[in-house]
Each structure stands twice: as C-alpha cells, then as structure tokens.
C-alpha cells in the first residue's frame, strides 16, 4: 500500500513539473506576444547597450515584448545546449560563431528564416549562416585578431613599428630586440592554442585538414614551421607557462601594465585597453608566405520549437541589421555590425584609440577559414591545443606533438 501511494505521489509530482515547464512558453491571444532572447554578447559591459536596442525595437513593434536573458560567454554554450535538450530554449538565441552554427543546424534546432533582407548584410558573413540555400541564422557582429603593439616600448628600443609588409622574420627580430627579461619586459605574446594554430598554418601556406576534410594535413614541413612559430616564442620573447602564460587575462594584464611590446589578440580588447596610459596601436598580423587572419562572427538564430517564430525572426533581423543597432554599436565601440553598407561604418574609423582602425577591415579581407567537423569539434580543438602545450612546456618535441595530434584527430575524423 505504501508503495502505491508513494508511486502515485511521484507521478503527480512529475506531472506538475511537466505542466509548469510547458506553461512558460505559451503566447497570449490578445495579439501581444512576449519573446525571449538568450545572449552572451552583451555580458561584461554591454548590457545597457543591448537594452537600448531592445527599447527601440519594442517602440517600433508595440505588440512585441523582448525578455532578455544574459549569460557569461564561458558558460553560454553549455546552458544553451541544456535548454535545447530540455525543450526550454529561448525563442531567439546567440550562436557562438560559424562552427557552433554548423552543429546547431545539423541537429535541426534552428528554424529557417523566411524574410531576411539579404542585401543589408555583408554577403560573405551572411553565407556562413546559410545551409542548402536557406538562412538558418544571421550574423550580428564580427571581429578579428590583429597585432597590438606598445609604441612607447618600440620607441625606447629604437625599433620601427610593425607594418602590413612584415613577415614572421621581422616580428621575431623585433621581439628579440624588445625583450628585456631583467626589466620584466617581453617582446611578444601569442596564445598556443587551436585558434592560433589553424591560422598560422594558412599564414605559412599549409592547412589544418585536407581538402575533403577527411584527414589532418598539418603534419608537413610547412605545418611544423607553423607550430614552431607558436611554440618557440615561449621563454625567448614570450613568458613561459611557469611564469603564468596561458592563464586568464595574463597577456592582456601584461600589455596594460606596459610590460609587453606586441600582443596577438582580438579587437574586442579595444574597450579594455582604452584607458591604459601607454600609447598603443594595431597592425595586421604578419604572415610567413601570405597574410591570413582569424575572423570570428557572432550569430543569432530562432529556435525550431519557438511558438512565436514570426515575432522572433523580426527581432533576430532587427538585432543584426537595423540602423538603431548599428548606431548603438558604433557609438559604444561594441564590436562591428555585419552590414553591407560600409559607409555607415566610416564613423568607426575615427572613434579614437587605436589610430589605425582601417586594419580591422583590411584583416577581414584575407580570412583563414576555420576547420569545422561537427560533433567532434571541441574534442579536435582540445587535442591539438593540449599537444602544442606539451611541446611548449618541453615535455615533447614539436614533431612529436604533431605526430600525436595527427593520430588522435584522424581517429576522431573516422568516427
């Protein structure tokens, strides 16, 4: 008897939980709808800017209310995946770049968008969120990685500033002159990670995967040179892991403290570096045989299970192409909108430090395509990063690291 009662109570409890889960998603019947938007892009300083765009949207669409949920970047993907698995996803949600778009699209969690004003978008970036001729997501912003440099340290060492004609050799020569370990000053910093590696491969005329995407292609002399370019800075022109290199904010703090002459990082740091006393500027990253740059975009999509897809799509379009959005972003220096009308972006060029903002657009002209392999993407990225760090720490030779990574990643690609 006890067991039966317990079981009955359990069933009622589960049913109650299920019902509350369902109720939260229903739209109202009076023509007014509320949609939810889950994002990471405004986290860490741009919350008020996002609120401005939401207010403008609600003014233009009085029957739609947007409820915003903001999550930190580091936990966003996990939270969004869990929401999708549980069927509690927001109507509109951020997509962390093209490779995540690929995973979401493949698994059918994105609704096709039907009324996208394509001409308003930068075509190359718009296309990275389309599959089979259908648009399943929209780019909201883009950023790229450039070479930041501290002009004061260059002047002090009597080294001329980086230019777009620099190659790796020029960078190494300058970094050696700029490094003064006794004074705690380092010449260069470039993370030893997958994101840097796939790009440096292209800068040296190599590539991460073969053309068919079935095997790795980095274990070649050109690939080895690219890996050495990353690994060998450690301890000569760049701090070592034991010094703290590779931990969160280590490189940016060093740069802000005026102890780092060159830093490879993204333009998202403009805001964080704005108040540093040092004079700094940016240049396009040097290549070896050619220029190739890491360009990242953020995207936005509509959940396939949304009950208010039309309203959700309206917001997704507004958030990625409206004039109000462009103005808020440019006024606040909140990454770059991905619109086709580059004239609107002109004001961005003279918004203050750094002087050579044109570099941001120049770098986006030669993109190193990021390899995308679907479900095993994170495992692949971890495998190569871990092996490169083993080499950086001196526990393996660079060749051994590439051999091991090749073996592991080829096994992933076979699955």
């Amino acid at each position: 008897m006890n067991r039966k009662i317990l079981a009955a109570i359990g069933v009622v409890g589960v049913a109650a939980l299920a019902m509350t889960g369902c109720a939260s998603n229903s739209g109202s019947t009076s023509g007014k709808v509320t949609i939810t938007y889950s994002n990471f892009i405004s986290n860490g300083g741009n919350e008020a800017n996002l609120a401005k765009i939401v207010t403008a949207f609600e003014k233009a669409n009085p029957n739609i209310t947007v409820k915003v949920k903001t999550l930190p970047y580091a936990s966003y993907d996990e939270a969004q995946q869990t929401d999708l698995a549980a069927g509690t996803s927001a109507d509109v949600f951020d997509i962390d770049g093209a490779s995540n778009y690929g995973v979401y699209e493949e698994n059918g969690v994105l609704a096709p968008l039907t009324s996208v004003p394509s001409s308003l978008y930068n075509k190359a970036l718009l296309d990275t969120y389309a599959t089979g001729g259908k648009q399943y997501g929209l780019p909201t912003s883009f950023s790229d990685v450039v070479l930041f440099y501290n002009k004061d340290l260059f002047d002090k060492a009597g080294v001329s500033y980086p230019t777009s004609s620099w190659t790796w050799k020029d960078e190494t020569a300058a970094a050696l002159k700029l490094t003064d370990q006794a004074a705690g000053v380092w010449g260069d910093h470039q993370p030893v990670t997958y994101n840097e590696f796939y790009k440096t491969l292209v800068q040296n005329g190599a590539s991460f995967l073969n053309k068919a995407g079935t095997k790795v292609a980095f274990n070649t002399p050109a690939g080895l040179a690219a890996a050495k370019w990353l690994v060998d800075k450690s301890g000569t022109t760049m701090p070592t892991i034991a010094d703290g290199q590779g931990t969160a904010d280590f490189d940016t703090n060093l740069f802000k403290a005026g102890k780092l002459a060159m830093l490879h990082t993204g333009i998202w740091e403009f805001g964080a570096f704005a108040d540093t006393p040092a004079n700094w500027d940016i240049a396009e990253e040097p290549g070896s045989t050619q220029h190739a740059n890491a360009v990242f975009s953020n995207g936005i999509g509509v959940s396939a299970t949304s009950k208010n897809k039309d309203a959700a799509e309206k917001w997704a379009i507004y958030m990625s192409s409206s004039t109000e959005m462009v103005n808020v972003r440019l006024d606040s220096g909140w990454e770059l909108p991905t619109i086709s009308d580059t004239k609107k972006l002109n004001t961005y060029l003279d918004k203050g430090k750094p002087t050579h903002r044109q570099v941001v657009f120049d770098a986006a002209k030669t993109i190193a395509p990021a390899p995308s392999i679907g479900d095993n993407q994170s495992a692949m990225q971890d495998d190569i990063t871990n092996e490169l760090i083993e080499a950086q720490a001196g526990r393996e030779t660079v060749q051994q690291a590439l051999d091991n990574a090749e073996q592991k990643i080829n096994a992933l690609l076979k699955q």
């Binding site: 892991i241 495992a379 871990n386």
Partner: protein, 299 residues
C-alpha cells in the same frame, strides 16, 4: 471478531499514512532529483545522444566502447591516485587536529571554528586561492620554498604535480570535517578507560593505539566511507584548478563525465560512465560494510 480485524487494519493504515506524511519532505526530492534522474541516466546510457538531436537506442554499445577506451582506465586510475593521496592525509591530519583540540588548550573553541571554516567555504573560492598559492613563479608556496633554497615544482602546470596539488588543496579543505567527526568520537570515550590504562602503566602512544584508536573506530569507519564516496566523486576542485590538465594528467571520472556531456556532446557515453562509477562506489562501500566487522569496535 471481524470488527476487531477491520479496526486493526484501520490503525495500521492510519499509521502508514502518518509515517508517509513525515517521509514526504525528503521522499519527494529523493524521487524527483535522485531516483528519477538515475533511471533516466540509465536510459540515456543505452542511447547515442548529443543533447540536440533525438536520442538513438544503441543497446550496450556505450559500455562496450568505454571498456575498450584507454581513457576510461586512465580516469579511474587518476581517481584512485587522488584517493590514495587524499585519504591518509586527511585522516591523519584530521586525527592530529582532533587530538590536539581535545585537550585543555587555550582558545580551542576558536581554533575549532577556524579549522572548520574551509569546510563551509565554496570549493570554487578555495580552488582559485590554491591555484594562486601554488602558482609556479609568483605563488607564495614557491617563493617561500625559494627562500630556503628549494626550487619549487610547476604544481598544476606540470603533469607530475597536478594531482598532488589537487590532493593538497582537498586535504586542507576537508581537514575540519574529519576533525569534527573524530572530535565527537573522542569525547564519547569514557575517561576511566584512560585512567585504567594509566594505572596499568601505558604511555601516551600505547594509550593512543590500545584505547583511543579502537574506541574511535566507529567514527573512523564513518569518515572512511564518506571520504571514499566523496573521493570517487571528486570534481569541483579539479574543474577549477586544472580542468583535468595538463593534457589530461588530472582528468578524473566525474570531470570526464562532465566533458563528455557538455564539451563533446556524448551524453550517452557520459551516462554509461556515471553508471559504471555508481557500480564501483556501491561495490567498494558494500565491501567496507562487510569488512567493518573485523575492525570496527562498537564497545
């Protein structure tokens, strides 16, 4: 006669309902948040599921795959390594503290509070502080070691030292918990036992091994069972201090379960690994309960 039987049945039913009413506050959460998810995980462990697409039934494939994957053996070995380092350290440390604070020491209530503080502190905070203390070039530990001429190791940046770093931080945090349990056990030991031992001429060590430890064995048993279960489930400190690195050197079972689910989209494999871990913990605990008859003294 029939009325009596009905009456008795009624009392029995009433009694059962009363018991049930008192059990509900803990039975419902147990059902919803422990037993329910466990059954659900058992189902997920029989499927291929990346959290996004519908799950596909694959039978026992995940278990077969995990058993032949060298990573599985490695993460269980790392977990055993953790337990082998953590358990003696936290037990001996906790015992020493309990013995010291069981004496008529001045300010012992204050000291007991201080040593218990880490137990109630969030693991994330503790882990980040230890990460900083054990920072290879700027951490206090290596700086102090440097003063006495010792070149400190790379701690969590070195595969050989990553696990010892985690063991050190974990033992430090849990010392207070072990101390409190053992302290309670010590205070339950009748003082006349010690008096009798003294009369018999037993010294401090002799009293420790012949009186204290045997009579403390129920508390010791409890501490070991709980610490072993917690040890197998070690996660927060690994996640926050090393993330399982460098290059997987400190990857433990639960960290692997987490990575498989949320980083690698392999919820089916992760659930199978969870069940394997559950079975291991269950087996170890049953063996301990069986074995306690030989050494636990409820005198």
């Amino acid at each position: 006669m029939t009325t009596v039987r009905v009456g008795r049945r009624r009392t029995k039913t009433k009694y059962a309902l009363t018991v049930l009413a008192f059990l509900l506050p803990s039975a419902i959460p147990l059902l919803l948040f422990v037993l329910g998810p466990m059954v659900a995980a058992l189902w997920v462990s029989l499927t291929k599921w990346n959290l996004l697409s519908p799950a596909q039934f694959v039978g026992l494939d995940n278990y077969v795959k995990l058993l032949s994957d060298p990573t599985t053996g490695a993460v269980f070995l790392h977990t055993l390594y953790y337990i082998a380092g953590y358990l003696p350290l936290v037990y001996i440390g906790g015992l020493a503290l309990a013995l010291a604070l069981n004496t008529a020491l001045k300010g012992r209530a204050f000291l007991r509070g201080i040593y218990f503080l880490p137990v109630v502190t969030s693991w994330i905070v503790v882990a980040l502080v230890w990460r900083w203390l054990l920072s290879p070039s700027t951490g206090i530990v290596n700086v102090v070691l440097g003063w006495i001429g010792i070149h400190g190791p790379g701690w969590w940046t070195d595969p050989a030292w990553a696990m010892p770093s985690i063991i050190l931080a974990s033992s430090w945090k849990d010392l207070g918990f072990v101390m409190v349990i053992l302290l309670a056990g010590l205070q339950a030991i009748p003082t006349d036992m010690y008096d009798a031992a003294k009369v018999d001429g037993a010294g401090w060590w002799r009293r420790l091994f012949s009186v204290t430890l045997p009579l403390l064995s129920p508390s010791t048993f409890f501490v070991i069972v709980i610490s072993l279960i917690n040890g197998f489930q070690v996660f927060d400190q690994v996640y926050a201090m090393t993330g399982g690195g460098p290059n997987g050197a400190s990857e433990v079972v639960v960290e692997q379960i987490y990575d498989l689910t949320f980083r690698y989209g392999r919820a089916g494999d992760a659930s199978a690994l969870s069940w394997m871990l559950f079975i291991v913990i269950l087996a170890v605990t049953l063996i301990q309960v069986r074995g306690q008859r030989r050494w636990v003294n409820y005198g």
